[in-house]
């Protein structure tokens, strides 16, 4: 199928392994625009996906107690120069199950396009989930990407998520995630984005530590150059005994770029604690000079620091 070939070729050019879509041990779902182009279920993983005419809906369920050894691949994209993709996703990780997801969102040739994701993740008691999402949106800066997610992390569950968009152009990005963390559960959100040209980046991540001893981390790393603009809002609320949260935002700004960081912390229980740190500006002087003392010129040193931060 032509669309799948374009998506997997793009994935391969970015260092991914296209063979996973042929592997019968690997569950996957691939969609180009509003067309489902490939999917595979494996034992313990059910994928119920449909084309709705103006989008795709899918429900992926990891059965109770099931430990899925190999990552589940989600490959979403637009293969033409223009297009719209709307995805409605529901992921359910049943009690005690564990799984990891690799989501590849690929828009290699788009000059003007839109990708909207509306996701719900239900991570039940004692489950463990890793969700790594990487984007490539071409070099034109014509994409509008709006990922929204509501994540419920059940008692004792663990949820680790990363979002990466560091190659090519961003266009417009508007992330809106909310994570509810139950008792003794752990949640981590990491976002890494490199904005260039006139890219506009808005990242709003909210974590609510609702249960006793819930723990949460929001970590954002953004580099901006040329005329790019970025605004990162990290909201951490702690409402229960022993809850611990941290918001960590770092932005490196070059040229005429503009960066803003808005950490909002709220604590309503005397035995809870939330901390935050934010650093915006040029590359750290000591890091730069340490590398220059090794013979790197300022451009080489800056490039290494930025690429390390977005690693």
């Amino acid at each position: 199928m032509r669309e799948l070939k374009i998506l997997t070729d793009t994935l391969e050019s970015l260092g991914g392994d296209p063979e996973v879509f042929q592997d019968r041990h690997v569950a996957h779902m691939a969609a180009s625009g509003h067309r489902l182009v490939s999917q595979r279920e494996i034992s313990g993983v059910t994928i119920d996906a449909h084309e709705t005419g103006d989008g795709i809906t899918n429900t992926i369920i990891i059965e109770k107690g099931k430990h899925v050894a190999l990552p589940i691949h989600l490959c979403l994209g637009i293969t033409e120069k223009t297009g719209i993709q709307r995805i409605q996703t529901r992921l359910v990780i049943e009690e005690g199950a564990s799984a990891s997801f690799l989501a590849h969102c690929l828009f290699p040739f788009v000059e003007s396009g839109e990708h909207r994701m509306d996701a719900t993740l239900e991570i039940k008691e004692g489950a463990h989930v890793r969700y790594d999402e990487s984007h490539y949106q071409g070099t034109r800066g014509g994409m509008i990407v709006v990922p929204k997610a509501m994540v419920m992390v059940g008692p004792g569950a663990q949820y680790f998520s990363s979002f990466s968009l560091v190659e090519g152009r961003v266009g417009q990005l508007n992330i809106d995630y909310v994570v509810q963390v139950a008792a003794s559960a752990v949640a981590e959100l990491t976002s890494k984005v490199f904005g260039r040209g006139k890219d506009i980046i808005h990242i709003k991540e909210k974590m609510v530590l609702a249960g006793d001893y819930a723990r949460g981390l929001i970590k954002t790393r953004v580099a901006l150059e040329h005329d790019a603009e970025g605004e990162m809002t990290g909201i951490m609320e702690a409402h229960a005994k022993g809850a611990r949260g941290h918001v960590d935002c770092r932005e490196i700004i070059k040229d005429r770029a503009i960066g803003r960081a808005i950490p909002i912390v709220q604590v309503t229980h005397p035995e809870a604690k939330v901390t935050h740190e934010a650093a915006i500006g040029t590359v750290d002087k000591k890091e730069l000079e340490t590398l220059m003392a090794h013979g790197l010129d300022p451009e080489q040193a800056t490039e290494l620091i930025v690429s390390g931060m977005l690693q």
């Binding site: 000591k286 890091e287 090794h294």
Partner: protein, 242 residues
């Protein structure tokens, strides 16, 4: 001609004189210890020598192999073979120990350099140089990276500070290996026992070199403690028996 020749160097920062009319020569293949109390100007000398931002000399001249370093930016000084191991080296997100040791060099195997500073290449090579490393581990990695540069002149700022007592001898052997590799070393320390390993030593007080001689004599003078708190007021060169 000495490898390093510092002539009448004065450095004022924020209206305060940190280094004052400092003159120092260091020969090829020599370890020169610079002893001084906190605030005496030792690290400032390192930063001025390296060309760090905000540490330009007010007057005086530094030459290296006869080349005036004044107009050269930091990275060009490094490319001449000059480098600095910081007292508190920076940490980097997303850069591995192996990458760091190989910086700016092609086809280099970091393993022997890590081995030399007592770190297992298997355990450390793929770790990031971030806050997960202890201060002592970070300093060892810095020394390994500086060794891998094969410098002509290495400034080591308090290389044994933060290193556990049992490993200090091991670090001293690493410092000696710079000399064995053909480099000269400016060994900055506030510990007279460390200075004894040098070929020559100087004592810094209140931004002035007050005594240069063999390490034993300089260490003995330093140990007396007369300079530790005087900030140069009672240690003017004319008052010191050289």
């Amino acid at each position: 001609m000495p490898l390093v020749d510092i002539q009448h160097l004065t450095c004022e920062i924020g209206g305060k004189t940190i280094l004052q009319d400092l003159t120092l020569a260091i020969e090829e293949h020599q370890i020169h210890a610079l002893l001084g109390a906190n605030g005496s100007g030792k690290s400032t000398l390192a930063y001025v020598f390296m060309g760090c931002e905000g540490f330009a000399p007010t007057s005086g001249k530094i030459t290296f192999k006869g080349i005036d370093l004044g107009p050269l930016p930091m990275f060009e000084r490094a490319r001449l073979g000059i480098t600095l191991a910081w007292q508190e080296p920076a940490r980097f997100e997303g850069i591995t120990v192996s990458q760091y040791i190989s910086l700016g060099k092609s086809d280099i195997d970091p393993a022997p350099y890590l081995g030399k500073v007592g770190l297992s290449p298997v355990a450390y090579g793929k770790r990031f140089i971030d806050t997960s490393l202890s201060g002592g581990e970070r300093k060892r990695i810095e020394l390994a990276a500086i060794l891998a540069m094969k410098p002509r002149f290495a400034i080591l700022d308090e290389p044994t500070a933060g290193i556990d007592m049992l490993s200090v001898q091991e670090m001293m052997n690493v410092i000696r290996s710079f000399k064995e590799g053909g480099a000269s070393v400016l060994l900055i320390t506030h510990q007279e026992t460390i200075a004894l390993m040098a070929d020559q030593a100087s004592q810094l007080c209140g931004g002035r070199i007050i005594f240069t001689g063999n390490p034993k004599d300089v260490a003995e003078h330093y140990k007396q403690g007369s300079c530790v708190r005087c900030d140069g007021e009672t240690c003017l060169p004319s008052q010191i028996a050289r």
